[in-house]
Amino acid sequence: MTPVLSVRNITKRFGTNTANDHVTFDLYPGEVHSLLGENGAGKSTLMNVIYGVYGADEGEIFVNGKRAEIASPKEAIGLGIGMVHQHFMLIPAFTVAENIVLGMKKELRLDMKQVEAQILEASQKYDLHVDPHALVSTLSVGEQQRVEILKVLFRGAKILILDEPTAVLTPQETEELFKILRNLKKDGVSVIFISHKLNEVLSISDRVSILRRGKITNCFDDLSQCDPQVLASAMVGYQVRLGVDKAEQEPGETVLEVRDLRVDDERKRPIIKDFNLSVRAGEIVGLAGVDGNGQSELIKGIAGLMPLSGGKVVLCGQEMNGKPPRAFIDAGLGHIPEDRHRQGLVLSMSVLENLFLETIQDKPYSKAHVLQKKAITEKAKELVEFNDIRTASLDLEAGALSGGNQQKIIVGRILDQEPKLLIAAHPTRGLDIGATEFVHRCILKARERGCAVLLVSTELDEILALSDRVAVIYEGECMGVVPQAQATKNAIGLLMAGVKNKEASGTAAS
C-alpha cells in the first residue's frame, strides 16, 4: 500500500535552531498516526511544513506517491491536506457557513442559502452536527472544533492534521471527537494526531511516532505492547515514572475561605458569580474547568489583584477585602501565576533579580532601601542549587531560559517564603515531563509542610493525581466540590460541561 502522505528527510531551521532534523514520516490511508513529543520537539513545525505555512530547508514530501511542492496552504488544500490548528482559525463575527465557505468560491456572487444547504448536507454525511446559520461566537469550544473539521472536509481533505485538538475539550467532548475520527477513518480519511497526552494517544491511534529534539526517535507500529510509561520514556529519552506518591494526611484548620465571591470584568459584566470555596491547611484543592470559565478572574480576586464586586476573601482569619496585593503576600499568600512570562517573571531582567521579586525589600536583602549584594547572591546561589535551576550564570536574562527553568525560578522563590496558602495556576502548562515532575513534588512537599494549596489547572489528569478535593468551575460558578475518592474523570467532566448532577451537588453542601 502506498502511503497517502510521505515525508522524507525534512529539515527546517530557524536561525541556528534546527526544529526538524531529517524527519521521515509515513501516513497510510484510513489510519490515525499520532505524533507525540514534548513542547518544542518540533511537532507543530513539521505540520506547518506539510501544510505549506513554512518552506522546508531540505527534504521532500510525497502525496499519493507523487512528489509535491507545497509552497502555501492553498496548495496543501488542493492536494487534499487539511489542518485544524490548536488555536482555531475561525472568525467569531461570522456565521458557520461564512467561515466554511471563506476562500473557497471563485465566482463573485455568493448565495449563502445555497452554501448553507450544501454545508448541512455535508454535516449530515460526516455526522458533524452544526447549525450553518449560527454565529461562531455563540458556539461552545467543542462545536467550534466541529466547524473546523467540517471546514477542512468540505474542501475535500483526505488528510486531516489535528494539532493538540483535545487541549480545550472536556473529557466528554474528547470522546465525541474520537467517535468522529473513527467514523472518518471508515470513509478513508487519514489523520495525523498531535498531542502530548499519552492516554488519549493510545486510545485513538493506530501508530505512534515520537519526535524528540526535532528527530523521529521511535515509531510504534503495534500499540498493544505499549503503555503510557513506555511512551513517556521515549518522549524524554530516559526512564520516567508516571504518577505521584501522596501520603494520607488529615487537613488542619481553614486557611482560605471564599464566600459569595463576585468579580466583574472591565465592562462590568459579572465573571465570577457567588463563588464559595474553602481550603484547609495541608490540603490540596484542585480547581478543574475548561479554560476561560473564569479561572483567571477567580485567582486574581483571591490574590487581591482584581477588585471584588461582592463577597469576601478570608485568609488565615483576616478579612482581605479591599487590601492591596502586598497585604495578601504578608498574610501568607504564595502565588504561582498562570502566565509566567507576563505575571511571574520580568523576562529582560536577570535570573538573580527574578529570584527576589517579592522579597527584595525585606531584610536581609535590603537594609534601609540599600540592596545587600552579598546576602542576595548567597541566597540566589542557594535557591538555584536547591531548585536545580539550569542557567549558565545568575546574570543571564530570565527570558533566555527554557520554560521549565523559568518555572523553577518562580516555584523556588515562592515556596522558599513558606506561604500558608499557595495558589498554583496552571503550574505545569507547557513544561516538559521532567519539570512537571519537579513542580508536582514541590506542591506535594508544601502540602506535607501544612500549606493550603489551591491548584488551578485545565489538565484533568494533573488535578486528579494531586488533589484531596476537586472543585469545578463553569461559567464563573462553582459546580460542586468532590472528594478525591469520588472524583472520577466522568463525574468531573460532566461538571466541567456545566451539567450538575445530584451526587456532586450533594457533596458540595457538606
Partner: protein, 328 residues
C-alpha cells in the same frame, strides 16, 4: 418657532444632502479599508489631496470629468504611501495617518502657491452643474431634495448600494471582511491577505478623491488651504457611529450634513451669537453623537493589526546578558 420651520423646507434637506455627500463618499470608502483591517485615519489628508487635484485637473484640462479622474489619482497617491507603510512596513497605522494628513496640507498648499501665487486672485475652474432628473425632479418636496443634485451625489448613492452588495453578497466581500476580522484564518484558507488589504486602501483613496472633488467642483470651483477642514475625521466618526455598516454610516453622515445645513441657515437668521458658534455645530454634533448615543461599539477585530504571515509562532527571545544587581 422659526428655527423649526427650517426642517419643513425642501431647500434645507436638499442642502443637507449636498453637504453630506463628501462625508458619505469618504466614509463609504473608509468602510472598505476598515473592514479589511486597516485603520484609516488618513481620510482627511486624502480628501484634501482629492480636493486640490480635482481643482488642478479641472483647471488645467478645462474638463470637469478629467478633473475628477485626476482627483482620484491624487488621493490614491497618498493611499499608496499609506498602504505601503501600514501593510508592508507595518508602522503604527495611526501614526502613518497623522503623518499623511500633515503631508497632504503641505503638498496641496505648496503646489497651490507655486502655481497660482500668493495673491488672493482666484482662478476659477470648470465645475459640476446640478442635474435635474426629468420627471422625478418634479415630484413635490422629494423631487428637489433627491433628484436635483450634483452628479457626485448620485455616484455616492450608487456606491452605497454597490458597497453594501459587495460586502455582504459576494465572495470577495466575505474575504475582505475576513481580512479585517482574522487575517490568519483567511491566510490559512489560501487567500492573499496582503493583496486584499492593498486593494482596499487604494479603493478608499479613490473614494476620498471623489469626496474631495465635491468640495472644489460642486459650485465653489476653486481651492483654498486646508479646504477639507476636518471632514475626514467627521467621516471617520460616521463610520464608527454607523457601526461599520454602509447604511448606518450613510445615516450618520446625513445627521452631520443636516447639522451643517442648519448652522448655515441659523447664521442667516441674525441671532445675536458670534458665527463661530454656528461653524462649530457639525463638530459638536460629531462629538455629542459619539459620546451620548454610541455606547461601546466593536469594529473589525483585526483593525490596526498588521498582518504577519508566520505570526502563529512568536519569535524566540535571544539570550542576552543583563547587568542588574549582582552584575560584575
Amino acid at each position: 418657532m422659526e428655527v423649526l420651520k427650517i426642517f419643513l423646507t425642501p431647500d434645507f434637506w436638499s442642502s443637507a444632502i449636498r453637504l453630506m455627500t463628501p462625508l458619505m463618499l469618504a466614509a463609504l470608502g473608509g468602510i472598505i479599508c476598515e473592514r479589511a483591517g486597516i485603520l484609516n485615519m488618513a481620510l482627511e489628508g486624502q480628501i484634501l489631496m482629492g480636493a486640490f487635484f480635482a481643482y488642478l485637473g479641472s483647471y488645467l484640462t478645462q474638463n470637469v470629468w478629467l478633473g475628477l479622474v485626476i482627483a482620484m489619482i491624487g488621493s490614491m497617491s497618498l493611499a499608496v504611501i499609506h498602504a505601503f507603510m501600514s501593510i508592508n512596513v507595518k508602522v503604527n497605522q495611526v501614526v502613518v495617518a497623522l503623518g499623511l494628513n500633515t503631508l497632504a496640507i503641505g503638498i496641496t498648499s505648496t503646489i497651490f502657491r507655486f502655481m497660482f501665487g500668493t495673491d488672493s486672485q482666484m482662478a476659477n475652474c470648470p465645475g459640476f452643474k446640478a442635474i435635474h432628473i426629468p420627471g422625478l425632479s418634479d415630484i413635490p418636496f422629494i423631487g428637489p431634495v433627491l433628484f436635483g443634485q450634483y452628479p457626485l451625489t448620485y455616484i455616492a448613492l450608487l456606491a452605497l448600494f454597490g458597497i453594501s452588495w459587495f460586502l455582504f453578497h459576494t465572495s470577495r466581500g466575505l474575504e475582505l471582511r475576513a481580512a479585517g476580522e482574522n487575517p490568519q484564518a483567511l491566510d490559512v484558507a489560501g487567500v492573499d491577505v496582503i493583496r486584499i488589504r492593498w486593494l482596499a486602501v487604494l479603493v478608499t483613496g479613490a473614494f476620498c478623491g471623489l469626496a474631495g472633488a465635491c468640495l472644489t467642483l460642486n459650485g465653489l470651483n476653486t481651492f483654498y488651504d486646508n479646504i477639507s477642514s476636518g471632514r475626514g475625521y467627521i467621516a471617520y466618526a460616521a463610520i464608527v457611529f454607523g457601526k461599520w455598516n454602509p447604511m448606518g454610516t450613510t445615516l450618520a453622515t446625513l445627521l452631520f450634513g443636516a447639522g451643517d445645513a442648519l448652522q448655515l441657515r441659523m447664521q442667516a437668521m441674525n441671532f445675536n451669537i458670534p458665527y463661530y458658534f454656528y461653524l462649530m455645530m457639525p463638530y459638536l454634533i460629531t462629538f455629542l453623537a459619539l459620546v451620548f448615543f454610541m455606547g461601546p461599539s466593536k469594529g473589525p477585530a483585526a483593525s490596526n493589526v498588521p498582518f504577519v504571515k508566520d505570526k502563529a509562532r512568536s519569535s524566540k527571545r535571544r539570550p542576552k546578558q543583563t547587568s542588574g544587581i549582582g552584575g560584575k
